[in-house]
Assembly symmetry: C2
Homo-oligomer: 340 residues x 2
C-alpha cells in the first residue's frame, strides 16, 4: 500500500476520512472534480497551438498542446507565433536542447531558416503591463486571498493560522484566463497607509510555461525559438523573457526526452534532435482533429476552495497542512472538454 | 545565437559585460566557480548512496548518487537505509512509478519482499527537530539574509530594494551540510517585540530531494520505498513525509524516464519498470569505485554572494533582477571533487 498512499499525497485519490473526522475532507483534485460544469471554461481553438513531434521509437504519437496567453499579455509575440504556425515554419525543425530541471527548447537548429514576412519586433516594455481592474476579478496579496486588494502589511503573526501566499518574486499575484500572474503592489497615499494598489502585472514561469528565446537586450525574440519549463519554476526569468503560453497537454513528451549532454543541455549530435512534424493553430486543423480543453474558472468559488486546499492539505494522507503555497504549486485545473 | 543566450540565462556562461558596466558582473555559477578551494566541503563516502540502474537501451550506465541528510535530521530512517543497502535489499528491485512534475519512485514492486532484521519504526515526531543554535550558522528570515536572526516584521516596503526571501511554507529557513531547511519562527516575549527565535526545523522537498514512502499515519515508512522529486518543489509534503537526502548526480536517469501511464504515474506493464542493479553505500565500493563530490559551504561568504546573485541576476543576459528567490531556486552548488 505504501506506494499508492504516497501517490495519494499528490494525486488526490478518494480515500477514507480520518476516524476522528465527521466527513471526508476533499483533496484539491476532488474539489476540482466536484466543481459544477458552469465553473469550467472552454479554451477557444484559436488559442491552442498543437505541436506534433514525430512518433516515438515505439511508433506512438507525441502531441503537445499549448494554450496561448490571453490579451493584453505578450500579444506581439503571439501574433508572430500565429504567423509562424500559419506559414508552417516549424515543420521539419526540432527540439534541440533539453536541460534537466530547466527547459526543453525547440526551433531551427541551423538558425539560418528565413522567417516569414510580417513578424514584428516587440519592445521590452511588453514583458509587463500596467494593471487594470478589468484584468482580474481577484488579486491575492500577502495574507489571504480576497475579492478586493487586501493590505499587504501587517503580515499575519507567525502563530496565525491564516494561509500565507507570500511570494519572494512579487508582492501580489492573480489568476486570469487560466494563467497565473505576478504584480508589483504600490502604496496608495490617498487611501490610507494600509491600502495598496497593483501597479504592473506580468505572466510568470511556472512548470509548463512556454517562453520566447532571445538574443541580448534589447532584442526580445521573434517567437520562432520557444522553450517549455520542465523543472522547478525559474521565476528569475520573469520580466526578462516573454511568456506566451503554457503546455496544457503532452508535456511528458518534452520533459521525458533525453537530456542533452552538451553545454546547457544542447544535443551534441544532430541525430539526437527530436524532429517536429508540425506545429499548427488548432483552427487550422479539421474540427475532428481539434483538441478540446477547459480550465476551472479562477474566478469561481470552486477554484478558491481548490487553492485553499492546495495550501492546506487536509485530506487523509496529510498530518501537517503547509499553511501556505507558492503560486506555481497551485496549478490551474485543466481537463479535456469531453470530461464534462 | 539566441539559443545560447537564452541558455546563458540559466547556466551562467561567461559573457561580456554590458557596455555601460565598468566590469563584468558575475553570474551565480561564476561566483561558485571562483570560490576558494577552502569554501568547498568534501562529502564523506559514508554519506553517499550509489544507485546503479541497469544500462540504458544504448548500453550506457545509469548511476544516481544520493547524499544522505546530516544529523540530527531523519537519522532513524537513514539508519534503516544503511541496513537495507548493506543487505543489498534493493538489488533486483525497480523504479515502478514516474509521475510527471512530481516524483520517480523505487522499491519492491511486489511489496512482498521481506525486510532485513533490525529496521526501526520511526515516530512522526522525527519529521521535525527542535532548533539548536549549533545546527546553523545563519538563519534567513523574511527580509535579508544575515548572521543573526533578523526581525521578520516589519517586512520591507514594496518599494524597498531589499532582497526578499519570504517563503509561503515557513517563516524562516537555513542551509546546513549542503541542504536547505525550513523552520517556524516564534516571538520571544523576553527579547522585545521584533525579536523572533527559530522553534522547529525540518528538511524540505526541493527538486532532487529523496523521501520515504509511507502508509497512512501514524506509519512513517521504513525507508525501503524511496522517491526523488523530479518537478516543481512539492513543499506541501514537508513535515508529512521523511526527507532523507537528495540526488547530487545522475538525476537525469530518473527525470527523463518515460512517465507511467497508470494512475499516479505507475507503470502499468511490469516490463516498463526500470531494474535497479544495485544500491550501495559508497563505503561498500572499492576506493576506485567511490564517487567523490564536494559542496559549496553554505556558511561561506561565497555562498552568501551566490545566493544573492540567484535572487538578483545582474549578469549580462538579465534586464530586471527578481529581487528575491525561493529557497528551492537557490540550489547549493555541488561538483565532483576532481574539479578542485
Amino acid at each position: 500500500m505504501r506506494q499508492m498512499l504516497l501517490a495519494a499525497a499528490a494525486a488526490s485519490l478518494v480515500l477514507p476520512a480520518h476516524a476522528d473526522e465527521k466527513a471526508p475532507i476533499p483533496s484539491p483534485g476532488e474539489i476540482a472534480a466536484a466543481a459544477p460544469a458552469g465553473d469550467w471554461v472552454a479554451i477557444a481553438p484559436s488559442d491552442l497551438l498543437v505541436m506534433d513531434l514525430t512518433p516515438d521509437a515505439k511508433g506512438k504519437p507525441r502531441r503537445v498542446v499549448i494554450q496561448l496567453m490571453p490579451p493584453p499579455f505578450s500579444q506581439g509575440w503571439i501574433s508572430n507565433i500565429r504567423k509562424l504556425a500559419a506559414a508552417r515554419w516549424w515543420d521539419g525543425t526540432s527540439v534541440n536542447r533539453v536541460q534537466d530541471n530547466y527547459v526543453a527548447q525547440w526551433g531551427d537548429a541551423t538558425e539560418k531558416k528565413a522567417l516569414p514576412n510580417g513578424l514584428v519586433a516587440v519592445p521590452e516594455g511588453e514583458y509587463v503591463r500596467s494593471y487594470a481592474p478589468a484584468m482580474f476579478s481577484k488579486v491575492w496579496t500577502y495574507g489571504a486571498p480576497g475579492d478586493a486588494i487586501k493590505p499587504i502589511y501587517p503580515s499575519p503573526p507567525a502563530s496565525s493560522p491564516v494561509t500565507s501566499y507570500v511570494d519572494p518574486y512579487a508582492k501580489g499575484y492573480a489568476f486570469a484566463g487560466g494563467f497565473p500572474f505576478a504584480m508589483t503592489i504600490k502604496f496608495d497615499p490617498n487611501a490610507g497607509s494600509l491600502v495598496r494598489r497593483p501597479e504592473t502585472v506580468w505572466p510568470i514561469h511556472c512548470y509548463g510555461a512556454v517562453g520566447v528565446g532571445r538574443n541580448m537586450s534589447p532584442d526580445t525574440g521573434s517567437g520562432a525559438e520557444l522553450y517549455a519549463v520542465i523543472g522547478h519554476a525559474p521565476r528569475h526569468l520573469d520580466r526578462n523573457i516573454a511568456v506566451v503560453g503554457r503546455v496544457i497537454s503532452g508535456i511528458e513528451h518534452l520533459s521525458s526526452l533525453p537530456r542533452g549532454t552538451g553545454d546547457l543541455g544542447f544535443y551534441e549530435d544532430a541525430a539526437e534532435r527530436v524532429p517536429i512534424a508540425s506545429i499548427r493553430l488548432a483552427t487550422d486543423l479539421t474540427a475532428a482533429e481539434q483538441p478540446k480543453f477547459e480550465y476551472l474558472s479562477t474566478d469561481s468559488d470552486s477554484f478558491a476552495r481548490y487553492a485553499d486546499a492546495r495550501a492546506n492539505r487536509r485530506d487523509p494522507f496529510f498530518i501537517t497542512p503547509a499553511g501556505g503555497a507558492d503560486i506555481c504549486n497551485i496549478p490551474v485545473p485543466i481537463r479535456p472538454a469531453s470530461a464534462k
